[in-house]
C-alpha cells in the first residue's frame, strides 16, 4: 500500500490504548482462541469516508491474516460457519443500531475430480495426440484460463463461494440483493498468471452494488497492514541498523516524514488476507438519516467488526425450527492493537467475547498500560535514565480515545460509555492523496486515524507514540517512535475496495531481513539486526 502524508502534528493520536488493545499491526492471532481459530481472526478493521465520494463511508473487515499467496490447492475460502459482521453505533450507546452481517456458502466444487480449486490456461487445453486410453485425443483436459467469476470464463473456477448480506437497522433485518439479481461471489485468491491472466479484471468483477445502493466486495486481497512484527514482539527490539538516530525505534525527522519507503522489514509483505469491504451512504448510517456536518453531534459514528460462531448453549433454543440458535462472538475489533498490545494475556479471549458497551471493566489496562512500562524499562535500561519518560498513571490521557469526544466528535456530543469503537466523524471530508499523512491526526490529517482508520494509516507508529504519552504532553512525550516500516509493500487503490488486489501465488515474495526490499538502506537490503 502506498501512503502520503507526513509529519507529526499532535492532537490525538490513536486509539490503540484507549480501548482494548492497540499497538501493533492490528491484531493478528492476538488472543488464545483466535490463535486456534484463524478463520475467525480479525486482522484489521477500517472505517473512513470514501476518497471519491464524501457522502459515503467505506468499512473494511480483514480476517484470516498472513495468507501465503501460493498456498494451494484450496487457497482461502471464508468459513461458512462464521457470521462476519460490521456494526455501527450512531447514538453514543456503544451498541449497534446498524449492522451488516455476512455469511458465506460452503465452497462449491464444479469439477470434483480435479485436484485443485483453480485450473485453467489459455483458451483451454485438450488431451494431446498421444493421450493414453481411455481418454481420446482432443478431450478437454484443462479449462480455459479463468477470466470471470461466473458464466463464460469461469469454467476452471472449481471452488466458488457465494455470500449473503443482511442489513439490520435497530434489529430489523433486511436481506440485501444484488442490483440486476444473481449471486454475490467471493473473489478467489490470485493463483497465478497462467490460471488467471488478468487478475485485476477478474477481482474487479467481485465489486457489486446492492439494490439499495450499497457497494460490497468480499474476497482475498493483499494484506494492507505493514509492521516489523518480529521486532515488535521480541520485547520491542527494533533493528539497530534501521535507525540513524542511534536509538532503535526512534526515527529521524527525515525517516518520519518519509511515507514512501521502509527502513525495516515489513513482516506482512507478500501476504494476503480475506477482505470484506462495504461502502454505505452516510445517510443510512447516521441517526438523522442524512449527511451531517462535522460540527454536528450526529456526525460521529462508532464502528467495530465481529466474528461469531453458532453457540453451544446449556439451555436449548425455545423454537429451534423457527429461529436459529444464538451466536457466540469469537472476536471483535474497533481500534487497532488494543487486544494485541494492551489487554493482558489472561483476559484476551474474555475481551474478544465481551461487548464494547461493557469495556469499562478493562479500564485498568488502559489506565496503566503494561506496554508503556515495558518500553520505559527497556529503553532506560539500554539507553539511560530519562530517555523514555512516560506519564504517571492513571493514564487518563488515553481515556478520551474510547469515548465520543473532540477532536473526533463535535463538541457537545454525548461521550457515551467507555467502549472500544473506531469512531469516525462522517462530516470530515477525505484528505486528497497528496496531503494524506500516515500519522493521521498526529500528522495533522483530520481524516486519518483515530478519526476512523484508513488502510494507509500507520497505526503502529501512532500507537507507540500514544502509549508513550503524546496525548498527555506532546513535548515531553514525543520521541519519534516507529518501527521503521512506513508503507505497505504494494500500492493501495484510490477507489473501492481500496485494498491492493491479492498478491500472486506465482510471484509473491516476502521481504525479509537480508533481502532486497528496503530502499532506504545500502543496496536496498533490509538490515538483519
Amino acid at each position: 500500500m502506498k501512503m502520503t502524508g507526513r509529519h507529526i502534528a499532535v492532537i490525538l493520536a490513536a486509539f490503540m490504548v484507549a480501548q482494548p488493545g492497540a499497538v501493533f499491526g492490528a491484531s493478528h492471532r492476538e488472543a488464545p482462541i483466535t490463535a486456534l481459530d484463524r478463520a475467525a481472526d480479525i486482522a484489521d478493521f477500517f472505517a473512513f469516508v470514501s476518497y471519491d465520494d464524501p457522502t459515503k463511508v467505506t468499512f473494511i473487515l480483514d480476517v484470516d491474516p498472513l495468507l501465503d499467496a501460493s498456498n494451494g490447492p484450496n487457497y482461502f475460502p471464508f468459513d461458512p460457519g462464521i457470521q462476519y459482521a460490521i456494526n455501527i453505533d450512531n447514538n453514543q450507546t456503544a451498541m449497534a443500531e446498524v449492522s451488516f452481517q455476512f455469511q458465506f456458502s460452503s465452497p462449491a466444487s464444479a469439477l470434483p475430480n480435479i485436484y485443485t480449486g483453480f485450473l485453467g490456461a489459455l483458451s483451454g487445453i485438450p488431451a494431446p495426440a498421444d493421450s493414453p486410453a481411455p481418454v481420446p485425443p482432443g478431450t478437454p483436459i484443462i479449462p480455459p484460463a479463468i477470466t470471470a467469476l461466473t458464466g463464460a470464463g469461469s469454467g476452471g473456477f472449481n471452488l466458488s463461494q457465494t455470500y449473503t448480506i443482511t442489513m439490520l437497522v435497530n434489529g430489523v433485518p433486511t436481506v440485501l440483493t444484488k442490483q440486476g439479481g444473481g449471486n454475490f461471489y467471493a473473489v478467489p485468491a490470485n493463483v497465478g498468471p497462467r490460471t488467471m491472466p488478468n487478475y485485476p479484471a477478474l477481482a474487479a468483477q467481485g465489486i457489486y452494488t446492492t439494490s439499495n445502493g450499497i457497494r460490497v466486495f468480499a474476497g482475498t486481497a493483499d494484506d494492507p497492514f505493514y509492521i516489523d512484527l518480529g521486532a515488535a514482539f521480541d520485547t520491542f527490539n527494533p533493528r539497530s541498523g534501521a535507525f540513524p538516530s542511534g536509538i532503535p525505534g526512534v526515527l529521524t525527522a527525515a525517516q518520519d516524514a518519509d511515507n514512501t519507503q521502509n527502513y525495516a522489514p515489513d513482516n506482512v509483505s507478500g501476504y494476503n488476507v480475506n477482505v470484506i469491504a462495504i461502502e454505505v451512504p452516510i445517510a443510512m448510517l447516521t441517526s438523522t438519516g442524512q449527511v451531517e456536518p462535522p460540527t454536528s453531534s450526529a456526525a460521529t459514528i462508532g464502528a467495530w467488526g465481529t466474528t461469531s460462531r453458532p453457540a453451544v448453549t446449556i439451555r436449548s433454543a425455545p423454537a429451534p425450527v423457527r429461529y436459529a440458535g444464538s451466536f457466540q462472538q469469537v472476536q471483535r475489533m474497533g481500534n487497532p492493537l488494543i487486544n494485541e498490545l494492551i489487554i493482558g494475556t489472561g483476559f484476551k479471549d474474555y475481551w474478544s467475547m465481551s461487548q464494547p458497551v461493557n469495556d469499562s471493566q478493562f479500564a485498568n489496562f488502559d489506565l496503566d498500560p503494561k506496554l508503556a512500562r515495558v518500553l520505559n524499562a527497556a529503553y532506560e535500561a539500554l539507553f539511560g535514565a530519562g530517555v523514555f519518560p512516560i506519564p504517571t498513571p492513571p493514564r487518563t490521557d488515553l481515556l478520551p480515545l474510547v469515548t465520543y469526544a473532540p477532536p473526533i466528535a463535535a463538541t457537545g456530543t454525548p461521550a457515551g460509555p467507555v467502549a472500544d469503537l473506531l469512531r469516525l466523524n462522517t462530516g470530515v471530508p477525505p484528505t486528497p492523496a497528496a496531503n494524506r499523512s500516515r500519522l493521521g491526526l498526529l500528522g495533522g490529517d483530520a481524516a486519518g486515524y483515530p478519526n476512523g482508520r484508513r488502510i494507509s494509516d500507520d497505526v503502529t507508529d501512532i500507537s507507540l507514540r500514544v502509549v508513550q504519552g503524546i496525548l498527555a504532553d506532546s513535548t515531553k512525550y514525543n520521541l519519534l517512535l516507529g518501527d521503521g516500516v512506513n508503507v505497505n509493500d504494494v500500492p493501495l487503490q484510490e477507489t473501492f475496495p481500496y485494498v491492493g488486489w491479492a498478491q500472486s501465488g506465482y510471484t509473491a515474495r516476502h521481504v525479509d531481513p537480508g533481502e532486497p526490499g528496503c530502499t532506504g538502506d545500502a543496496g536496498g537490503i533490509c538490515p538483519i539486526n
Binding site: 482462541i33 453451544v312 457466540q328 489472561g346 483476559f347 484476551k348 479471549d349 474474555y350 535500561a381
Partner: protein
C-alpha cells in the same frame, strides 16, 4: 542512577537469584504433581487418605509459592472434594476474575456454585466455558449437570456423550465421564444401557470405585438386591463411609435381610451423626433415615435445617421438604418442594416426594401428576413401587 541491563553486578545478582529460586520452583512443581495425582487417586478410589495427601501437598506448595495459580486451583479442587463449597467459591472467584481466559477457573466457580445451589452463577460460568471452547470437556461436563438440573435429560445425555468422545485425557477421566453418563441413564430408566457402560469402565479399571458404586445402584434398580448388597459390602470394606453404609443397609433391607440391615443402619447413623456439623457430611442420608426408616421427624427436620444453612441445592431442598412433610408442616413442605422443582430437575424420587406432599394436602390432581411424572422418568426407580401404590390408592380402578 538507575541500573541498566548491562550492569554486571545486576547480571550476577539475577543469576544468583535464578539459582536460589530454582530449587523451590522444582519443589513446588513436584508438590503440585503429587497433589494432582492424589486428587485423581482420591476420585478413583474414594480414598480419604489420597485426598488428605493432596491437601497436604498443596498446602506445602502454597507455603513455598503462595501466588501460584495452578496451586491455588488445586487448593480449590481439594475444597470441592471436601464439599466446602462456600470456601471453594471464595477462593475460586479471585482466580477467575484475575484470569478470565482460564477455562478451568470458570469450572471451579461453576462447581462451587452448583454445590451451593446457586444455579444462576453455575450456569453463567459453565456457559462461559463453552463459549471459550465449545468442545472443552470440562464445559460439557458442567453443562450436562446443569441440563439435567434444568430438566433436559436428553440434552444432558448428549453433552456427556460428547464429553466422552472428545476426552483426550487419561483413562480415569473417560471412566469418570462414562460413569456419570451411566448414572444419568440409570436415573432415567435406562438401567441396561447404564450397565453396559459400567461394564466397559470396570473392564478397564476393575477397582474404579465410582463405577462400582453405580453398578450397585443399577443392581438395586434391577431388583437384584442380594447382588447389590454383596457389591456394597465389598465396597464398604474399601470405603468405610456412612453413605456407603447407608446404601448397603438399604440393599440388605430390600433383600429381606432385616437384622443385618438394622445393624448396618445403626452403624450408618453413628457415623453420620458424628459429622452432622462438618461440611463433608451425610445429612441428606440421615434425613431420609429419620423420615423413612427410623421415624424421628423432629430430628430429621433439625438435621435438614443444619444443611439448609450450609447449602440450598435441589437435593438439600428436597430433603428439607421431605423432613417438613414428615413433621406435618405440609404448607412449608410444598413451598420448599416447589422451590426444588422450579429449577427443572426431572428426578423420580423428587417427583415422588412432591406427589406424597400433594396427596397429603388433598391436592389429588397434583399428586397424580407428580406420581405419574415420577414413573415417566423411571418406571424402575426405588420410589416407583410406592408411586404406583399411591396412584392405585387414589384411583383403585385404574390399571
Amino acid at each position: 542512577m538507575k541500573p541498566t541491563f548491562n550492569t554486571p553486578v545486576k547480571t550476577v545478582g539475577l543469576a544468583l537469584l535464578a539459582v536460589l529460586t530454582a530449587k523451590p520452583a522444582a519443589q513446588v512443581d513436584s508438590l503440585k504433581l503429587r497433589a494432582r495425582t492424589s486428587l485423581k487417586q482420591a476420585r478413583a478410589s474414594d480414598s480419604a487418605n489420597s485426598l488428605a495427601d493432596a491437601e497436604e501437598a498443596i498446602h506445602q506448595a502454597l507455603q513455598l509459592a503462595p501466588d501460584d495459580f495452578e496451586g491455588r486451583k488445586l487448593e480449590v479442587k481439594v475444597l470441592l472434594a471436601r464439599r466446602q463449597y462456600r470456601e471453594a467459591l471464595e477462593r475460586a472467584r479471585p482466580l477467575n476474575h484475575g484470569t478470565p481466559d482460564d477455562v478451568e477457573a470458570w469450572g471451579l466457580v461453576s462447581d462451587a456454585a452448583l454445590g451451593l445451589g446457586d444455579y444462576t452463577e453455575a450456569e453463567r460460568s459453565a456457559q462461559w466455558m463453552l463459549n471459550l471452547r465449545s468442545t472443552n470437556v470440562g464445559g460439557l461436563e458442567r453443562g450436562a449437570r446443569l441440563r439435567e438440573l434444568f430438566g433436559d435429560n436428553d440434552g444432558a445425555r448428549q453433552f456427556w456423550e460428547s464429553a466422552l468422545r472428545l476426552s483426550m485425557a487419561d483413562e480415569e477421566q473417560r471412566a469418570w465421564l462414562a460413569t456419570q453418563l451411566a448414572s444419568l441413564n440409570r436415573r432415567t430408566g435406562r438401567a441396561d444401557q447404564a450397565e453396559t457402560l459400567l461394564r466397559q469402565v470396570l473392564e478397564a479399571l476393575p477397582a474404579y470405585q465410582p463405577a462400582l458404586a453405580e453398578m450397585a445402584r443399577v443392581r438395586m434398580q434391577q431388583h437384584q438386591y442380594a447382588s447389590a448388597a454383596a457389591m456394597l459390602r465389598e465396597r464398604y470394606q474399601k470405603v468405610s463411609r456412612p453413605d456407603v453404609q447407608f446404601e448397603f443397609a438399604r440393599a440388605l433391607q430390600m433383600a429381606g435381610r432385616d437384622a443385618e440391615a438394622q445393624t448396618a443402619y445403626q452403624d450408618f447413623e453413628r457415623g453420620a451423626r458424628a459429622v452432622i456439623d462438618a461440611p463433608c457430611n451425610y445429612n441428606r442420608e440421615l434425613v431420609l433415615y429419620y423420615t423413612d426408616r427410623a421415624p424421628r421427624p423432629a430430628e430429621a427436620l433439625r438435621v435438614a435445617k443444619i444443611e439448609m444453612a450450609r447449602r440450598q441445592d435441589v437435593e438439600t431442598l428436597d430433603a428439607y421438604a421431605w423432613a417438613l412433610y414428615a413433621s406435618g408442616d405440609l404448607a412449608e413442605a410444598q413451598r420448599q418442594m416447589d422451590k426444588a422443582l422450579a429449577v427443572g430437575l426431572r428426578d423420580a424420587s423428587f417427583f415422588y416426594h412432591a406427589g406424597a406432599i400433594a396427596s397429603k394436602r388433598k391436592d389429588v390432581s397434583a399428586a397424580v401428576r407428580y406420581f405419574n411424572d415420577s414413573l415417566s422418568v423411571s418406571a424402575e426407580s426405588e420410589t416407583a413401587g410406592a408411586a404406583r401404590g399411591a396412584l392405585k390408592e387414589m384411583n383403585p380402578h385404574a390399571d
